[in-house]
């Protein structure tokens, strides 16, 4: 009986030890970043290993929005500085509350077809974390398919108001 308890104790100790090393491994990727190790920003479609750009967009008549995907949850708070033809614009950034791995920065629009140098600087210490060069050809990309448009054209043109979904669904 004593031997059995020792075995159980040993198994639990081994599990705890393994858990410790696994957790330490995760934490080992320190929350502090290396200032001398400046990452290159790419589009997320090309690489999402490090900070990457999800998309560029339009914010109002003359504003621009840049959405970033963070490489890890403990990435430092930052702001973006975009330079075009020597003019520097600061883009304050906000984390998406419902999806904290997404951060978007808003600021002045940049002329299309011209190169844009983006630097990412940590709020704390103004340290350069990442940088990349982009050329924006367009800020608005339509996403609907032509087949969808055809469905629209074929459908009825009168809409009826429907109530905001409430307690009726999901079905009980």
């Amino acid at each position: 009986m004593q031997k059995r308890y020792s075995m159980i104790g040993g198994a639990i100790a081994a599990l705890l030890l393994a858990a410790f090393f696994v957790i330490r491994g995760f934490l080992g990727k320190s929350t502090e970043f290396q200032s001398q190790n400046v990452a290159r920003i790419a589009l997320c479609d090309d690489s999402d290993e490090d900070l990457c750009v999800i998309s560029f967009g339009k914010n109002g008549a003359d504003g621009m929005v840049i959405a970033f995907q963070l490489p890890r949850a403990d990435y430092p708070a930052f702001q973006a500085i975009a330079t075009n033809k020597g003019v520097e614009n600061i883009y304050p950034c906000e984390a998406v509350a419902s999806a904290p791995m997404i951060v978007y920065c808003t600021g002045a629009a940049t002329p299309l077809g011209e190169s844009l140098a983006i630097e990412i600087r940590a709020i704390e210490g103004n340290i350069l974390i990442a940088r990349g060069d982009f050329t924006l050809m367009a800020l608005m990309v339509a996403s609907s398919s032509s087949s969808f448009n055809a469905v629209i054209a074929a459908d009825e043109k009168i809409i009826a108001p429907t109530p905001t979904p409430g307690a009726g669904y999901p079905n009980p």
Binding site: T106, V141, S144, P161
Partner: protein, 560 residues
């Protein structure tokens, strides 16, 4: 398919290790409590592997009770004292449980726990690419959870829905979020995957009780986990309460074997509080159990005839459902060789387990019949998704029974083939059908929450969906990320038909008449066409635009 499964799971664990550890600790806390209670009250013939497997289905019971306590304490006390008091209760419970099992537990408890942890690892990868939980159901769950979370010390506490609605799942997630302060969507996602991993475990108990074969029990668990693409696919529909209730439904059936009346009643009530239709499923099981008892009392010739009649009714109903375009999807997960194998195995052991093979068949029959029985003017007793999600349970039970017919090596070989089939055929990643929110949508919705006026009314795309046997539509279900406008931004959303023509004067009049001040455009096939808004710049102004998400302001309503 599934090439990135391990990498995705590791990624999810790395990014959310704190939340994952907390969720596992929470679930193991509940499991330990239930295990200790069972260990203390169950007769001695129940092994630790059986009891822990059953407890892995029963943990939502203490989890919900402590969650209700946390929510209640949060209403009457400030945050820190409420948390300390709840933690003290949880620790006291854990202390009692450890004292009960101390020096009585054997190594037999480990295999079900290890199976569960492996399933957790495999299921977590689903969350790697998911921004918010899937489909429009999740948005409503999120909204209800948010209402519970927003209740500040009783002053603003309000029942989160206008009518009766099961809230057990929502209270659990809200309590977890009160403690962890994690993003609600992420908690829903990860908790859902862990629940999914636990669902096959109580079958271990049920099959082992019936067969006294560990091999059969494990085979049943493998069947339930990987045999069909249900129940796993249900996370794509956001059917989290239904999935959570499946755990307690199995647990309740297991408690029947323990003959513990108090626990049975409590478990049944909590199951129904988590998902109302659990009551119907209990009814189907009860009716099937009575039918099987009556059947057993018949002379052998009549038994054969009645069994044939039952199978004929099941086959007829299956064929009828197969011909019904609305109900047909129920059968889709089950039209595969694994179902045939299960049927053959069950048939081969029916002489050894006559009642236990008749019972699941009768349960399936009653579940299918439940699809056609009206409960209210617009609901049937059971709906298509729930039956589709649940049919795997009686089938896996039958398969587990049938495994006793085979030599051990054949069962192992079959189990390996079933796992390989799942790895090659079923997608462990989110389905394209139901991912309404892209990263652009999440960005646009967050921007909306920060910049739109509080009284903004936002038009979103919607369509009528059909779920029941009579084709009665569910009105105005959200079809893109617009469904998340209300839960994430607090702005009122106004569902508009996905086919609305925004260039027409009647539509324009209706928008202005309804005081719709903004329109949200996502990137799904049924989203509004963003291009039409560019054509009439005197009516609409694009105020925020990303490739997959747009916010349009409706302007000049006062100008004739």
């Amino acid at each position: 398919m599934n090439n990135d499964l391990f990498a995705n799971s590791l990624y999810v664990i790395r990014q959310n290790w704190g939340l994952v550890l907390f969720l596992l600790a929470f679930i193991f806390w509940g499991t330990l409590l239930v295990f200790a209670f069972l260990k203390k009250t169950a007769p001695r013939q129940f092994s630790d592997s059986e009891l822990i497997a059953l407890a892995l289905g029963g943990w939502p019971l203490p989890a919900l009770l402590v969650s209700l306590l946390i929510i209640f304490l949060r209403i009457v006390l400030p945050y820190t004292p409420a948390l300390i008091l709840a933690l003290a209760v949880a620790l006291a419970g854990a202390g009692w449980a450890i004292r009960v099992v101390w020096r009585k537990i054997t190594f037999a408890f480990l295999p079900p726990v290890l199976f569960f942890l492996v399933f957790v690892f495999l299921r977590l990868g689903f969350a790697a690419e998911t921004i918010l939980p899937s489909y429009f159901d999740s948005a409503e769950h999120y909204r209800i959870i948010q209402v519970i979370l927003d209740s500040q010390r009783g002053i603003n506490f309000a029942w989160p829905t206008n009518a009766y609605y099961h809230l057990g799942y929502h209270f659990i997630i809200a309590a977890i979020n009160l403690i962890t302060r994690a993003a609600v969507g992420q908690t829903m996602l990860l908790f859902g995957q862990i629940v999914l991993a636990a669902i096959p475990m109580p079958l271990w108990f049920l099959i082992h009780r019936a067969t006294e074969s560990k091999t059969a029990a494990i085979f049943g668990v493998i069947l339930a986990a990987f045999g069909w693409f249900m129940p796993a696919h249900a996370v794509n529909w956001g059917k989290y309460p239904a999935l959570l209730s499946l755990l307690l439904i199995q647990f309740t059936l297991g408690v029947l074997a323990l003959k513990h009346r108090g626990l049975l009643v409590l478990s049944a009530i909590v199951s129904i509080f988590i998902h109302t239709r659990a009551a119907i499923l209990f009814g189907a099981c009860g009716a099937a159990w009575i039918a099987s008892d009556l059947w057993m009392r018949q002379p052998s010739m009549r038994r054969v005839m009645l069994a044939a009649l039952t199978l004929a009714m099941l086959a007829t109903l299956t064929l009828y459902i197969g011909g019904n375009p609305i109900l047909d999807p129920i059968l889709k997960p089950y039209w595969i060789w694994i179902t045939l194998l299960t049927g053959l195995l069950a048939g081969s052991v029916s002489p050894s387990f006559p009642r236990l093979t008749f019972f699941p068949v009768a349960v399936m029959l009653f579940m299918l019949i439940g699809l056609f029985i009206p409960a209210t003017s617009n609901l049937t007793l059971l709906d298509r998704p729930l039956v589709e999600i649940t049919l795997f349970l009686p089938l896996a039970f039958l398969g587990g029974l049938g495994a006793t017919r085979l030599p051990k090596f054949a069962v192992i070989a079959l189990a390996v083939v079933i796992v390989a089939h799942a790895a090659l055929t079923y997608d462990f990643s989110p389905s394209d059908c139901c991912q309404l929110v892209t990263r652009d949508d999440a960005t646009a919705l967050d921007w909306m929450g920060r910049h739109l006026p509080a009284d903004a009314r936002v038009g979103i795309s919607s369509a009528n969906l059909n779920f029941d046997a009579y084709g009665r539509p569910m009105l105005a279900a959200g079809v893109d990320a617009g469904i998340w406008v209300a839960p994430l931004t607090g702005r009122l959303s106004v569902p508009l038909p996905d086919s609305a023509d925004f260039t027409s004067q009647p539509t324009r009049d209706l928008l202005c008449g309804q005081q719709v001040t903004y329109i949200y455009i996502g990137s799904k096939a049924q989203s509004f066409d963003p291009n039409v808004f560019e054509t009439i710049q005197t009516w609409y102004d694009v105020i925020f635009s990303l490739p997959n998400a747009k916010i349009i302001q409706v302007i000049n309503c006062n100008v004739q």
